[in-house]
Symmetry: C2
Subunit: 388 residues, 2 copies
């Protein structure tokens, strides 16, 4: 196990009707003038935004609204949000939505206290301070409600990049599973794939003696495998959605990833896909993860066998561990198909002839990506080809 | 899953040599004058205390030393610590030791900002404010390094009671597994039993649809079952001790217990044992937990069967689930014996004729204890008898 620091100071408020406590918690965490940030019309139509506004009004907290966050959130709205914060002396950013809204809110919160271009944070500068951010989560997926990171796509070049810093961890996050009942099944499945990917990026590691985080990773995956089909086929199953929602947070606040090298190559390969084609992040991950696994499996067959046995219930083939390892990858791919995810380029609308562009956009040059296996441009090209 | 709040804001600093960063973190978290609280001579002899003092000196942080915390920490030293804090204008309490030292530090930190008797907090008053507490952990066991609770024994009547409040969560905790290498095997085993008990108090619940926390509980237990024999037989195995140390934190910061009714009857029964006989808490738990399980098993045979299959690798007997359930309890008891724990009264020096005293000291009256099964005085008497 490697040395590590772990810090997850977010106050989580979980359960039915908890969004009505938003005002109370904004007040407790020092907000007096709030940027209320959200996405499209669903938060308005469902009445959620009204409930949140009522809660803020009930505590005499003033707010400025900024809606319109798109999936794969863009820089344009972030610049607009930063302007509003500076002009209106906003001291608190409240995100009502899924990972895209939260990531946009984090970008605004960091940019509001920074003199330069907020994009600096997405090209390597660490976020040291930001306005306090809080979230009311409506999609179980990205884990941004408990994480220290944010992903934004810059409209100049459609580059999708991430920024990081403990200042970006939400001060509080409200998670009401009922808010996820109305999501289309496809979007629920995309979210489920995203959270599985967050675990897998941590699970496949070269670090030895990490049984505790291995077991926590496996526990989260086993939960998702059990609850996902229920959440998708029974949209109002509170139990299934509650388990999925908390799994999504635990998958990404790093409690299951501390003390071990993490990989994240697949996320970077996917970012190029969703930047180029504007596909859902989860769908892109469903296409890329099995391909990545097939390419790297021989690097550590026993880890893939462990994945197969402990997570997918495969019988260990002690004579041919690689058979078990392959079976685990196949079961994962079958699971993704069973919840309605694409697993090949064509299903996503991606094209084999764009592979050179995808690889070029990663700007690897002579560098590599990933840590389980350090991938060169040539390796990445092969993996994209496996996904065709 | 029940509604819940979860808040674990402690900054964890984990790994080799990290105690040398104590001064840096005290400064970061605002400490200027520290009460340095510790136990017996081992922290002095090992040179740990000197390293911590050097680290504080390096940041020009002044401190007052208060050693002498005993296992099952007592009220007398707490009163003394509170006096020192008030007289010396202490603004930060740094605990160097195991759960006893940390619990004593938490009591002092709460009492230092309170006009009344600190014992009020241990008889029902919630802790709303306290001096910041930080820890340098030397025993993997109690989980107090990440928890919001503290247990103290009052010398007036030898009552062992707990207090709770988010203000008691350490601002930072330094966990260096190497510091646990020198513990006697018996004490390591007591710590292991304590952390298993923290999981089990959460695991046996009547709350439905809690797969995510079930799986996290099971993952922690599976880790402990694998790593404990190594940690005991190879005292300098870094990997085993690192896994055990982080498992001890995760077992008790409540990440594996949110959203579900928890039991805690066994802890209360054990508190009476260790208060009366001054035995190690972990040893007392090893005696009481199998007894409790045998008494309550029929309340939910399938939960005990799940415990047997998922945690102990038992084969499910689908015709007779109670056979599997019993096998799980037997395997747990065998495991405790294998790591050198007592499992009966006599091994602990406890006496059957004291059972009425133990029951009386719980002061249940017409109330019950526990939630999985609500135990009356009669039930508690039966469970103590099963442990004889």
């Amino acid at each position: 196990m490697n040395n590590f620091n772990f810090y997850s100071p977010t106050y989580f408020i979980f359960g039915k009707g908890r969004e009505n406590e938003a005002g109370k918690y904004v007040k407790r965490f020092g907000g007096t003038k709030v940027l209320l940030h959200f996405g499209g019309s669903s938060a308005i139509k469902s009445g959620l935004l009204d409930r949140v506004k009522n809660s803020l009004n009930g505590e005499d907290i003033s707010f400025v609204e900024l809606g319109g966050v798109m999936p794969n959130p863009r820089s344009g709205l972030v610049y607009k949000g930063i302007d509003i914060c500076k002009k209106e002396s906003i001291d608190f950013v409240l995100a009502v939505g899924g990972g895209s809204v939260i990531d946009s809110a984090k970008a605004i919160a960091a940019g509001a206290l920074y003199e330069g271009d907020f994009w600096d944070f997405y090209t390597g500068k660490k976020v040291e301070k930001a306005l306090p951010v809080a979230t009311i989560l409506t999609i179980a997926a990205a884990g941004s409600e408990g994480s220290s990171s944010t992903v934004i796509t810059h409209e100049n070049g459609m580059l999708k990049r991430s920024a990081e810093g403990n200042a970006l961890r939400p001060v509080f996050s409200i998670l009401n599973p009922e808010l996820t009942f109305t999501l289309p099944a496809y979007q629920t499945a995309c979210g489920i794939t995203d959270m599985m990917a967050h675990v897998l990026e941590r699970y496949f590691t070269n670090t030895q003696e990490v049984e505790i985080t291995d077991r926590l990773c496996e526990g989260i995956l086993l939960t998702i495998i059990k609850e996902a089909p229920v959440a998708i086929s029974e949209p109002t199953s509170y139990g299934a959605h509650a388990n999925i929602m908390w799994a999504g947070m635990v998958a990404h606040n790093d409690i299951c990833g501390v003390g071990r090298e993490q990989d994240w190559a697949t996320h970077q390969m996917e970012h190029e896909l969703s930047a180029l084609y504007d596909v859902a992040h989860g769908a892109g991950l469903a296409v890329m993860f099995p391909a990545w696994m097939k390419f790297v499996m021989n690097h550590d067959v026993m880890r893939f066998a462990q994945f197969a046995v402990r997570v997918w219930g495969c019988e260990m083939d002690f004579q041919h561990p690689e058979t078990t390892a392959k079976e685990g990858i196949a079961k994962f791919e079958q699971f993704l198909i069973s919840i309605g995810m694409p697993v090949r380029f064509a299903e996503l609308g991606a094209k084999a002839e764009d592979i050179p562009t995808l690889v070029k956009n990663m700007r690897l040059g002579n560098h590599t990506v990933g840590s389980f296996v350090k991938l060169t441009e040539k390796d990445v090209t092969e993996i994209y080809k496996l996904a065709v």
